[in-house]
Amino acid sequence: MQQMEIHSYLKQFFMTTGCEIEKETEDYLTVQLTCEMDKMLMNRPFYWHYIEKTGGIPEPQKITFITNFSTEKNSVKGERIHFGSPRLQQIFHAAKKMGGFIRLYENQPGREGKHTALYPWLCLNLKISYICDRRKDFFRSLSMNLINGMIVDDFHRKLTDKNVPLVPKIPDFAFTFSPLFKPESGIRRIKQFVEQEILRDDHSWATEARKRRKKDMKLLDSFFEHTEEKPERYFVEKEVIFNQYEPKITVSIINGGLFYLSQKFLQMNKKKYNS
């Protein structure tokens, strides 16, 4: 993540969370936190507890984030933010906490007599991790049409690339089809889809991990070969080695939700994908 990208990330984050950006240059931005964001980011539970108990007037803090420190003007005091700095991790964490569940409608108002029909989609943005003594993650964005069961891949990018206008409330003169598939069965189908896909993938990584484990186990056995009664250490070591290399796959949902979209979106994707 480049410094410029971090800068715009911070700006978007604080604007979206209702914090006032008091000052902004190319190199830094000064933000007046809201009470909510202060509680989330500043880690001062005692202060907030005290204010709430005494009914005092809260004074949320103001922070300056320096995003370009190659040309840092020495007059500016603030926190230097880079990828990997604890503050940015904390903001990432806050964003994930607040951005988990969505429901939006395509902004296609109809007119009287010609109402827009919106189709329900269930979208899951997934992180798939292959874990042994090493690790690799994949991102997948899958969405199922809850009327006809079609599953569309790379859904999130398609939404954002096409700039589909989205609003939190159903637009005027529009109606939604009620889903034939319930959301929970949508989730189940997407999971099955992912599972099938994982099964088809190359898993030499797991085989290799098991080979490494076997090698270590063999050495351990040879070390205690001549010991009649194996000491406890042998069994402890064995268990540790087992766990160190044990391959597993986890699938976690980063975020997702319901999108009500017009026929247009469906047609765009019809040809390529079918579940």
Partner: protein
């Protein structure tokens, strides 16, 4: 495929409740920001290092990056890091730990280090690596702390020991791991019983005395890698304290990283050594000759704890140093015998006649011509005080420093020097005290006996991070014992022109304890200059031999 797939269920439950309750729903922007964050945090590949991306301010050196990659990709996170002194083993360890933490493979971490280094490790892990390490203190919980730093001595003691051995650690680091060379010790047994997936052992000297030492270290990491103890002993009994066998070398290299200075791409700045020979003033010469001449005359009256040689060396430094020693002699000897009393009285008289300190005058001249920060090392506290006063008379501000200061004071003095003073006057370079790479001029106002001490002095300045060549001025007074030390010992073994840490390696090959005794013997028990010379030549021959052994390796 035979790998279990685990689906996270928590999101689903939360989501379905929201569907039922018609909300609350996230904002579209935040939804996108959350996704963006998660995508950036994903690990795109089994191989390679993610850590540098998270640590843009660290800038590790190429050999450090290489070491980290090797440990992770080829050694499965179990390794001995045995770089030579000064190449940054801590950085390598930090990089590796960070990598495992980023990948979510290490959460519960234990770092065991010498007590004197606990604070430094905590500071480095937090400051350089953003790893939230905590130093163990009373009543801190071993169970609840994710990344704990403690001394091995504390950890192995009851009741800590029992609690620690119950924990399952993902990652264990042990600094100064040569303390684990003997498999019969409590330290060894304790570390052996730790539950540890990934483990790093840090030491600059993986083998000091016996070949078994490396066996013991490796068996902590990977029992069986070098066979059983009996097999190993039988097979390699001929190898005394070095590894010659190619097969064994290969095996060891599978679990050990040893970077040598010459293999790294670091551009070490040079050392320029200037010997500055100084003439005594007439009065100083008289004091020195008086003391040196008393060796025969008063020889027998001095007891073992005191040597006339000490006074000789002090006379080369400052009259103040001599004066303090004489005063202490009187204090410890309430009723001195006649000849001693006479010696002290006559020496005092000589001291009183001295008006100037020729070395100090020379130092002043140098400092004024250098026009940059300068560090002066002296062996004597009295000289240190005098120099501070003397420089002040000439409008030069200086900071006194001694090895006995506490950590906080050391840091404060360093900062004072860096920001406000021209000269830093230190009596002791010793230990892991202080790093002064922002300065590149050193004056050795007097010379210590033991060349390691001198190397440590220079090492404070000539280390990673030093951008300029280091210039060392060695002061020695003509026609004195100092000139002998300089000519016979230091110049002969090219001490000064060596690269950082090289001497360290050479001297480790000799028995370091006896080395100190050697010097003491040469300088305090030689009855003549001739004897001293012979003994010194023997010693330099030994050092040269050790050097050849190293080269042959």
């Amino acid at each position: 495929m035979n790998v279990p797939i685990h689906f996270d269920e928590t999101w689903e439950e939360s989501f379905l409740t929201r569907v039922e309750n018609d909300g609350p729903w996230s904002d579209w922007n935040i939804y996108n920001l959350a996704l963006k964050a998660e995508k950036h945090l994903m690990i795109p590949s089994f191989e390679g290092l993610q850590a540098p991306k998270f640590l843009p301010e660290l800038q590790p050196l190429p050999h450090q990056m290489e070491a980290a990659r090797k440990v992770i990709e080829r050694m499965n996170g179990k390794a001995i890091l045995a770089d030579e002194v000064g190449l940054g083993k801590t950085i390598e360890a930090g990089l590796i730990l960070k990598e495992y933490m980023i990948r979510g493979l290490a959460k519960k971490v234990l770092i065991l280090v010498p007590a004197s280094l606990v604070t430094q490790w905590v500071a480095e892990m937090n400051g350089k690596f953003h790893i939230p390490a905590i130093a163990y203190r009373k009543n801190y919980s071993w169970e609840k702390t994710d990344v704990m730093v403690s001394s091995l001595d504390t950890a192995k003691r009851s009741p800590h020991r029992e609690i620690i051995l119950e924990q399952s650690y993902d990652f264990v680091i042990i600094d100064e791991a040569h303390k684990l060379k003997n498999h019969k010790t409590k330290n060894y047994e304790f570390v052996q019983n730790l539950k540890k997936k990934f483990c790093l052992l840090l030491t600059a000297t993986p083998i000091q005395n016996k070949i078994e030492e490396i066996f013991n270290l490796v068996s902590l990491l990977k029992p069986g890698h070098l066979g059983t103890y009996e097999e190993f002993k039988e097979k390699y009994k001929k190898e005394k304290n070095r590894v010659n066998d190619d097969h064994l070398k290969e095996l060891i290299n599978k679990v050990m990283i040893r970077n040598r200075r010459k293999d790294t791409t670091i551009q070490w700045t040079k050392r320029h050594i200037e010997t500055v020979l100084i003439d005594f003033s007439k009065e100083e010469r008289e004091l020195y000759d008086h003391i040196a001449g008393s060796r025969k005359q008063y020889g027998q009256i001095f007891n073992h704890t005191f040597s006339i040689l000490t006074l000789e060396r002090e006379a080369c430094s400052s009259k103040e140093a001599v004066f303090v020693t004489l005063k202490n002699m009187l204090k410890n000897n309430k009723e001195p015998e006649k000849p001693l009393e006479k010696f002290i009285r006559t020496t005092m008289e000589k001291i009183e006649k001295i008006q100037i300190n020729s070395k100090a005058e020379k130092a002043l001249e140098l400092i004024q011509s250098i026009n940059d920060k300068v560090i002066i090392f002296t062996e004597y506290r009295a000289t240190q005080l005098y120099l501070q006063w003397f420089l002040k008379q000439h409008g030069i501000s200086s900071v006194p420093f001694s090895g006995g200061f506490r950590k906080g004071k050391k840091d404060w003095m360093k900062e004072l020097f860096q920001k406000h003073a021209r000269v830093f006057i230190a009596t002791e370079a010793g230990g892991e005290g202080i790093n002064l790479q922002f300065c590149n001029h050193i004056i050795n106002f007097d010379l210590p006996w033991n060349p390691m001490r001198l190397e440590q002095r220079i090492g404070r300045v000539h280390r990673i991070g030093q951008k300029k060549d280091v210039i060392v001025y060695n002061f020695a007074t003509k026609g004195t014992i100092e000139e002998h030390i300089l000519k016979l010992l230091y110049e002969k073994i090219d001490l000064f022109e060596r690269v950082i840490g090289e001497l360290d390696d050479i001297l480790t090959r000799l028995d370091i304890c006896s080395l100190d005794e050697h010097f003491a013997d040469i300088f305090t028990r030689s009855s003549s200059v001739g004897e001293m010379r012979v003994k010194m030549e023997n010693l330099t021959a030994m050092i040269e031999l050790a050097e050849k052994m190293k080269e042959a390796e």
